[in-house]
Assembly symmetry: C2
Homo-oligomer: 244 residues x 2
Amino acid sequence: MSTGTLRKNELIYEGKAKKVFATEHPDLIIQEFKDDATAFNAQKKGQIRNKGVINNELSAHLFEYLETFGVRTHFVEKISEREMICKKLDIIRIEVVMRNVAAGSLVKRFGMREGTELPIPVAELYYKNDALGDPLMNDEHAVVLNLATLEEVTLLKQTAWKINAILREYFLSKGLKLVDFKLEFGRHDGLILVGDEISPDTCRLWDLETNKKLDKDRFRFDLGDVEEAYLEVRNRLLGSPANA
Amino acid sequence: MSTGTLRKNELIYEGKAKKVFATEHPDLIIQEFKDDATAFNAQKKGQIRNKGVINNELSAHLFEYLETFGVRTHFVEKISEREMICKKLDIIRIEVVMRNVAAGSLVKRFGMREGTELPIPVAELYYKNDALGDPLMNDEHAVVLNLATLEEVTLLKQTAWKINAILREYFLSKGLKLVDFKLEFGRHDGLILVGDEISPDTCRLWDLETNKKLDKDRFRFDLGDVEEAYLEVRNRLLGSPANA
């Protein structure tokens, strides 16, 4: 079946920033990017104009880029401004965060100074559980919580390290510092694939020269120029819209 | 120098449950066990009659027992009811918690049911930092916080696993379930030694038949029979005082 003919069937899931629809193909879904933004476990809510369009473009681009390095993702094809076709995943309830520079919870939880370059990249695991506030955990917690086997956890972390090495270089070449980012994973046909999205919603990106934040922290902390920041990242990676 | 002649010099450190004194020997300290008890990051305070005497006896006994299995500890000699001589440590600011059964923060943080037997023992690392509330961390956090090298963190965890295997069997032979326990470590003369104490202050111990809590949780949660619980553990391990 050509994916070009796929139509949306029922809504399977509506998240904070995306809707996921079934299609007539049992192994494929359509992921639709919204402009809605939430922060602090959905205590803060708002909209970022055009975010859905930009995050769809950026995620498609970054998933394709990662695939050229042999990273397996759920991405199949971008089919409209706000929609991409993806492989249907059995979601693993673990968020993997990779950090290169101290920000966010490293500052709050451990008292590190924001902006400190880390001597080694740090991989963190979080239990995807809204009711518990997505707590930090370690490899063994993931096992005893029945989220994954120890081998799978190791694979998630190795994949996250690899993606970090690839994307850090890539963003650097675009004048952006990859401070940290979040990955989600799922099982599909016996494989573990990278899922969700990769965008300024899920990455902290700072301008290399000025350290200006060009990501969702502008929304979280009311820093202003939110839409401009998303557009700036988009244009650095994909060229200005006129050339796109 | 015979340790028998050692005298207390100045107080180096006073903690929640112990005082540490310098001695005339630069490599040795005297650790004195108090009856004071605190919980919830010192928000709850009280006293447990005779706790210091019992914890000194139990720690001396358990350190000696572990040494027979090749585990290196700071323990040198028990010199009075409430005092032991120990090697002076350069403390590593990492607490290692080993868990066999869900209790405490596994219940609160991850929503597990108290009493659930874990399919694998879980090792947790906490950053010893009162101001930050001793946050949970992973191996890489310990490195970027400059607390230890990755090799040292691995050694701490391996030692904790070994101690868990030894003590779990031992407590089982005394009709006690080792639910979880906390270890501290320090550097001495190029080696990493187990420090602090091993007692019902630092171990969760449940009666094997009834699951009755025989540890500091009786104090934390006002369960009553606190002193009796400490004495019960002491007598199961060391025999009743008349025979001691």
